[in-house]
Symmetry: D2
Subunit: 432 residues, 4 copies
């Protein structure tokens, strides 16, 4: 493959992203990769962390760069990768998020699509990305897909992209911490890279890097609770979901929209949406539709569109699910109906759970679910057998949160009376 | 005015943005301020610095926070500001960019609107922002407008927002450096704040802060050349301008668009666009239109829409304007016409000029165009009389660049022949 | 007390250290505080982390600054401290390490002095510090001592300086991380300060700050294992101890030193060393003596002096103490004696143990040993009852390390033979 | 030469310092290099910037690491260096400061030694460093010396260590900024390295790196005025000089010291001090002597020793040298004598001057005094012909400062009367 004179992208997380291969350069220029500039990495999180406005494009470049660093670290210490496999990892790193839609999880839950499937289809069907991959080597697209799908025969290749400590996670923790300003994402990447070794075609870590890994797992845990699972971001996601759910319901009920729905209608009506249709969706599409919907007749659609555009979020209260709270929620539901507030859209429960390290100890085949250490005596041990920190953490029940979201603003605007008063009482304790 | 329990926004530039006043909190929630979330601070710069995806919303919060710091520093050292004037400065800081359209400079040049005018109108006309200001105090909107327009009677109040060293510039240099990753934006803000004094109702700086100011001026200069005037960002701006210019030309020539143009048509046709129409425009609007235009019949519109969406930029060469180069450009123009490439859209000259410090020495009234130092003996001196660095810099002709932009891709795709060959030769030297 | 025009010290950890009180300014100028400039904060750690060369003086300023921030945060949220108590905390923060000798722990273990005792004596006896405190207010020295000794009646005052999350620990974690370059010391101080509340005259933390505290405890844990307990630093400490132990032994055995020992002899011979004698010792004293001792007749003293000056450290191996390893160590000892290497100085065992959080759950009186959270419902809970992370960590046995240190260089230089060979074999496994 | 398994030193400026060569590893372990741990990089600057406590050892490792990066950048772009020349540069980088004494400039001015000479002698005479170099290759010590002395035949090799933009300056600016906390030392090193090219065996910079170089020159300028030439640091240097000058004067006048002077006497009395004597001096030696001198009979010696130990500095006033001020100084001198204060030690004038870029335009042979750019057309131009910033700066007279230092404390303690009053008046204006 043609080598390129080194090209760089200035990147605040790494200083520079370096590109040395024509294949990578060409992939970056494709319209499918460029589209990721128009999709925020963290969906609605910028409604809490106002600077979390970075795109999946910058994350994709970042995963590529991190994969490049991992490969360099491994090759520097004797691992042999063929030129093809090197480019395979780099391509898979760059392309692994190609199928994400706007505000991913919300979008997927409404349209019943999976971004993993679209990543695969974009790589394999009639796209610029597919043409660039196949021009490099007949059948290369299939290989890239297999790496991303974790079906590629060489587990080492897969694990650089998908494992407990892969290029994807390393980049997003560093990047999301940088762009949110959350102070938990500092990771000693250089130490992790320096202690990586390949044993039996798997990546393991010298025990001298154990503390850096403990620290990484804690950072990840903190980022989950501080950023990814933040109530306000979840609230905004629910707003988007409700807006899109309402559009679907209206389409199927024959509602007449003021303006043509275009690609949005196609996406709801096509049995199996085409890649072409799918790729039309990005954050600006959703945003543009939302701005149109603020004029619609339907009250629920209009309300959620307005919430989207003008950041009028739902409020939440924490609760512990049990008979008593379930009874309370049932009552709230009934009072809402009395007030003409549809609880199907306006009373939403949510459950979050997260451990710092997901492994629970099946020794026989722990890839990709565990992290293994190379001990001083040459043996390999799963990290929780060595680290008292990790052992302690997996010994207790993971942290959970249950919340219920509701429209405090609408309830306050409702006519005074028992229903209103009771709802406020029932949701009382934690509403400020 | 009601005081608020302190609220904070996590912000990577300052740690936190702090809000203590109900008025500020309410302004932040208005739809006109929230709209700034959908407008990138640096327009097309993210096409060069891929992480420059931050919004005018985060900049606006940042200017507010910086103004808060300046006020605190001044009041801490004895300056007296009334509660009204304090809120006036903070409101003006938060709202000063309210009238920006998407991809500001391109947008303005095509629509002949000025964002300053729309900032004023949004503050004064029938908007949520206006209602919040007037609810605080009858006539407060007018005062805020006057501060932003620099017609408010107290020059001290104005200078916090608009001067060589104001909250706006301090925030954007810090913020743009952070989000681009350009290493030139570090500014010793704490020292600058510590050496601020008010003399005769003007802000001056103790001479012990002079080096921090020299450093700030150099950072600003570097950011201009490295970021704001970067060829690729300019190229992307020209793409947007050409797309919008072409829409206008097509509207006025009666061209029939495939889909209704909606608000975009209004904006071109209304004599004096309403605030309501104007506020409909943000980056997602332009982006959505561009995606529609990639299907249009008109070749030029389609081409520029595609360039916008898929980052196919124009190339540039540096040149020195003189008889010889003008003659060459004239020839290029003619050859382009031969190849069927409209030079009015495809051969564009551009001129950049920047000094680190714009002042040229009129002593009588140097506000807001100069920076003054408070000397050890109590006298006031304009900085270039004291700083050898600044004196040196204003003594030489400012740096300039002349460039011409053209579509290397289209020319390469043209049929071989003399015209093509001559164009490539004429633009030869600097085209890689 | 006279207020000062604000004075600042540039400090890379905080930007600036701010001083507003004449009392604090005067304390900083005293010779006893200035002496701390000549004592490294981390003793021999700079032999591993070569940039850990910062002094107890900069740490003392840092603890002062952190205490100032804590007080400001508490007062900003309604806690009332009298002017005297405010200055009491600040003085105690600045002076809490006054009694440290050079290479503290080594020094103390040889001379059987405790730095806490000398801190107390320096505050109370005839010193500049004492005079400045008493000039501020008759009896103030006693109060400052009581705060440092934790016998002052108000527990809130004490806890700012001495608790699981005090100004001392916050500063040293931040500072030691900065100066070693260890990437584990980032702490979200602003969040911790923002969530501090005073309830029943104790500091508690709003539950919304819990993750920041978890992160702090993990940072502390990492700093212990990565920095404070690092084998090489320990090795250097043992070198210093051995050098000083040898001096003592030689003094008492009537050995004649080439040069007069001066203050060092006084320190060994005085029943109860005076403050004046004690204060003569700083890092340069030890360093100077060591350089003299490199000329001494006594082989052991000369060797350890040379090790000190030229960084010839002892090597270590990890071991698990049990009958087998104890037997092995006994054998090594005997072989060493055979080789003429005194095992009393050259075979040294060492044991480290550390948990991230020391509390084991005695509810009745958990100050200063636990961290308490203020829950949303107003109740107070000890953090390990709420945090799954902390709960997990205290559930497992704390991490421990056993090591034995020995002079690999001397052994290698010994005449070949069984003794040498057996020692190398017995210590074999982990010696590279 | 034996390659080593990579060894690293944690370094906060670079993350890690990497060592791959046995030669370098062995040099680092020598006693002459280890001695640099006991000499502060910035002499008395820590009396102003209290955290500027880093040593020449960490700087030396840093210059080594920076040289390694430069070589890697050059070799990556096609420059060919033999293995010997690579190690030559690295050794010279590591050893270039070997001859520094404690508080360098003060020490040198009193003893009339030059550190450059001692660097040469330590490399060439009977030292561990010399033995390691010669063991690598017969005659290698001479080559290393020649590189450091700039007499080595290959100018490329020299320029990596000694030029306007060499490894030495790059490291000290980065490092001194890090450890002082001065916010001016940020340099875009990666860009500078990326744009380095070798043309005609000289290092030049692609014009696209020009702004990074402008920024570097400005940082250097700022560091000079903010840090290196800071009045307080200078004042402390003068204290050291005076203490040592007084010792010399007392030795030669036959004064009897309370304790034996040891090596210090040798240094004054030896015609040509031996390397062995010289190497005994480090910061702790001076510090230890100073603490002894605080007991001496001689009043001037005792005073300056006390100033050294307890940071009682001289005060300074700015002045402009002219007939009037010279007359004033003459009068101050006379009044001082009246008060019994020896002006030879207590009235000291000082002059600082600095430009950001020292070149004044001699085209014929500008190495190592100028920075050259590789233009787009392949030509080479000196930077001030291209950069308007640099051109401006060298067009004006460089910034200068004249100061006079004096003991405000002694004068205040003098008996009241005309002499005292007049001195205070004459030095009045700028004394606070």
């Amino acid at each position: 493959m043609t080598k390129l004179e080194e090209k760089v992208f200035r990147d605040p997380v790494y200083g520079y992203v370096h590109v040395y291969d024509q294949l990578i350069w060409d992939l970056i220029q494709t319209k499918e990769v460029q589209r990721l500039r128009r999709i925020k990495q963290l969906g609605g999180t910028y409604m809490v962390f106002h600077t979390a406005e970075h795109s999946r494009f910058s994350h994709s470049l970042g995963v590529y760069e991190m994969a490049r660093k991992i490969i360099r670290a491994l090759m520097h210490r004797g691992t042999i990768l063929s030129e093809d496999e090197r480019l395979l990892v780099l391509s898979a790193a760059l392309l692994h998020d190609l199928g994400h839609g706007p505000f991913s999880h919300s979008f997927e839950s409404v349209f019943s699509v999976r971004h993993e499937l679209f990543t695969e289809r974009i790589i394999m069907e009639n796209t610029e990305v597919n043409r660039v991959l196949e021009a490099y080597q007949k059948g290369f697209a299939t290989k890239v897909r297999d790496v991303i799908n974790k079906t590629y025969p060489n587990p080492l290749i897969i694990s650089i992209i998908s494992s407990q400590l892969d290029a994807d996670r390393l980049d997003y923790l560093l990047r999301d911490a940088y762009f949110t300003g959350a102070p938990y994402g500092e990771i000693d990447v250089e130490r992790i890279l320096r202690t990586m070794r390949v044993v039996n075609n798997k990546i393991v870590y010298k025990v001298s890097g154990m503390h850096a890994i403990e620290d990484y797992l804690m950072s990840r845990y903190q980022m989950y609770w501080q950023v990814y699972l933040h109530s306000t971001g979840r609230s905004f996601d629910l707003v988007i979901q409700n807006m899109l759910r309402r559009v679907r319901e209206l389409i199927f009920s024959g509602y007449e929209f003021k303006r043509p729905l275009g690609a949005l209608k196609d996406l709801f009506l096509e049995e199996d949406p085409s890649v072409e249709t799918y790729l039309k969706f990005d954050d600006s599409t959703i945003s543009y539709y939302a701005s149109l919907f603020t004029d619609e007749e339907d009250e629920i659609l209009r309300d959620f569109a307005d919430r989207f555009i003008n950041r009028r979020l739902l409020k939440e209260v924490h609760y512990t699910p049990n008979d008593e709270t379930n009874e309370k929620l049932k009552q709230v539901k009934e009072y809402m109906i009395e007030l003409g507030i549809n609880p199907d859209y306006y009373l939403l429960t949510d459950h979050s759970v997260k451990t710092p390290y997901d492994y629970y100890g099946h020794k026989t085949n722990c890839l990709p679910d565990c992290i293994e250490l190379l001990m001083r005596d040459g043996s390999i041990q799963e990290i929780s057998e060595v680290s008292t920190i990790i052992k302690g953490i997996i010994a207790v029940k993971p942290k959970q949160e249950h919340k219920v979201y509701f429209p405090l603003d609408l309830i306050r605007l409702s006519p005074d009376g028992e229903a209103k008063q009771r709802i406020l009482e029932l949701l009382h304790e934690n509403v400020q």
